[in-house]
Symmetry: C2
């Protein structure tokens, strides 16, 4: 599964385009975010992507979970949101 890493500076509509594209092509995509600002952008992107896909008659749902990511040798807890076709 493709993984999209979202930061607090990510532009929701741009991330949404990528989410919608992967969900259309592959049926699912994972978005990962660390920190409140990044999680907020990720959720906004998912909401926008859901709207994009609705116009293609695709119903997208999200499954949030915690995941551990190693960055520069340090383990951090990230939020993972799997976006998939219902």
């Amino acid at each position: 599964m493709e993984i999209l890493k979202v930061s607090s500076k990510s532009v929701p509509s741009a991330v949404a385009g990528a989410i919608a594209s992967f969900v259309k092509e592959d049926g699912m995509v994972e978005i990962q975010a660390i920190g409140a600002g990044a999680v907020n952008q990720a959720v906004k992107a998912a909401a926008v992507a859901k709207g994009f896909l609705q116009s293609s008659k695709i119903d997208m749902v999200c499954c949030p979970a915690f995941t551990n990511i190693v960055i520069d040798g340090i383990e951090k807890t990230a939020i993972s949101i799997i976006c998939e076709k219902r």
Copy 2:
């Protein structure tokens, strides 16, 4: 549908208990959050609730969307996350 309002000071495990309870009883619940800190707590709560429900063999999915809420006469854009049984 019940609406749970989440703030940046909400405790994710407590909100998760409420989400799990409503999803079990009613099949769905809406969580609303305004601002990055609140959205972050809401997503964490949803992730924890998903874990709680898995132990009861219930698969929960989330549908994020934007919604407008009027607070003290001022319209604000909130994130709404509908949590429901798959």
